[in-house]
Subunit: 337 residues, 2 copies
Amino acid sequence: MAKHIGTQSILLTRQVSIIEATSTVGKKEGEGPLRQYFDVVLDDNKDNGSNWEQAESNIVRDNLNLLIKKSGLKKEKINYVITGDLLNQCCGSTYGIRDLNIPFFGVFGACSTFGEALSLGSIIIDGGGGENIIAAASSHFCSAERQFRFPLELGTQRPPTSTYTVTGDGGVMLSANGFGPYVTAVTTGKIVDFGITDANNMGAAMAPAAADVMLHHFKDFNRDPNYYDLIATGDLGYVGKELVIKIMAENGYYLGSNYTDCGIEIFYNKKQDTHSGGSGCACSAVVFSGMLYKKLKTKEINRLLLIPTGALMNTTVIQQGESIAGIAHAVAVENTF
Amino acid sequence: MAKHIGTQSILLTRQVSIIEATSTVGKKEGEGPLRQYFDVVLDDNKDNGSNWEQAESNIVRDNLNLLIKKSGLKKEKINYVITGDLLNQCCGSTYGIRDLNIPFFGVFGACSTFGEALSLGSIIIDGGGGENIIAAASSHFCSAERQFRFPLELGTQRPPTSTYTVTGDGGVMLSANGFGPYVTAVTTGKIVDFGITDANNMGAAMAPAAADVMLHHFKDFNRDPNYYDLIATGDLGYVGKELVIKIMAENGYYLGSNYTDCGIEIFYNKKQDTHSGGSGCACSAVVFSGMLYKKLKTKEINRLLLIPTGALMNTTVIQQGESIAGIAHAVAVENTF
């Protein structure tokens, strides 16, 4: 039974193992610095779909089937699949898992979705509500651009603050039975809105939420940033990362070289022309399921604080003049329980 | 710690009380047969918003603040708010709970969202992951019509199979401390897709999913429909309800007068010209938080099986020729634990 800590955290008291992780990414992500860590790199981002939404669903379907296969679990042994994406009504997930035949909880936390799925899955297993749970998230550059900004065919120029939505799906198999790495603690985020109205500056919209949940995490557990070998926010990019460092310093927490952002890790920024960095639900999902999980397994890092970050943006509401609300969820993953 | 039962159900072993429930509805819902059961009936569905999306958020905000007030709990004692709606990126919820300052899990299950929130909240409390959790869902006729079908200004004629999206928000406070009614069992649904492609025939798209989860619930617990004083699906309307009765009969389960659908209960169908009945996330949420919760409290009914039903419809994907995937979640609410 979870132990409530401080204002908004819980310490897990049952072993919640991440027994397997799989990642599938698009062509561009495969040309980036993390290529070696991904299970599948697509040659063609259409992935045999006849449109971008179908492509995203195909990526979800194939990546989660690979996850199930690699985990060695029979489908009947998997209690829930918890997943979501950026598309309206989370249709990337819906059609992706349609044939899985596993009880489904759909979640939406914009680009924090992987953190939300990981948190919920871990809390449920910790409390005995499940033995094996899939937590995952996906996004696709082409489906996201046309839904949130402009169809690619327009060739719209992207400002320097903009980020590049990662194409891919990252998923993990959480289990009550297995070895490390373990999910050890969860700090669930609240909505934080600092009044940003620019749909091309997501980093700035999300940074206050990332800092807020990080501050609560450190305070709740009486930890400082050095407790972790690595702290990784989701998809703040260069602009948002600097803001987080600033806000944290103003609050007396100095983030050093052990702090990075998944959106900065995933691309060769200048060479690949990705402006402020990578973004999208898949950004933290594939960087975790690809690189970070493997670095935990090889003990290159032993204590990770993953903080997927989301800008809860809706085009209609933004056009009506509303600001972009941010949210972030912190999940500690450690090799010792 | 939850007890896993059969293929996809869990029996809760800790008392999960529904200590309070509140419902706010629009003008038309207030003119229906359930008027007396709702906490708030709006005079004007704009609810002081300058557009329909803002109106929905205002309804969410006010209804959940009323819930917190009526529950007598301080906000700091509430671990999570779990809620969602039909709008793209669940923006009705996001802006509605923005100022609540409570850790937030956003969920999307289309019109099954209330069932999903209720299931997740109950599983978390049962496992010790929280003491007090808000589970809720909202929808708004005007924001939903323009997003999913046509702007109201067009005056489009609605076919007889169409349902009428309920305007409102229904929310409950789940707690580890309190008296009945209790959430006693949860059967989580899988995606079921029978190939319906008509966005005006949601009942038919959802009925197979409702029947599927109901069948699994009865089999898992070795119960028959007579175990319950009332079985209430979410928003199948007249068309979908008949289909459920048929599918269940084909499988040897005969639903009698103890079976109803929240979409049929909420309107005077002929007088109010609501065609196949009510629908939307708010349909099961307000019928439960309004009428059914009160009937449980007064012991008019003691055993309820609530099955919110969702059509995971996305306009882009439907226009691309995809079918509408359905999902439903069954939650047993009983006066004795």
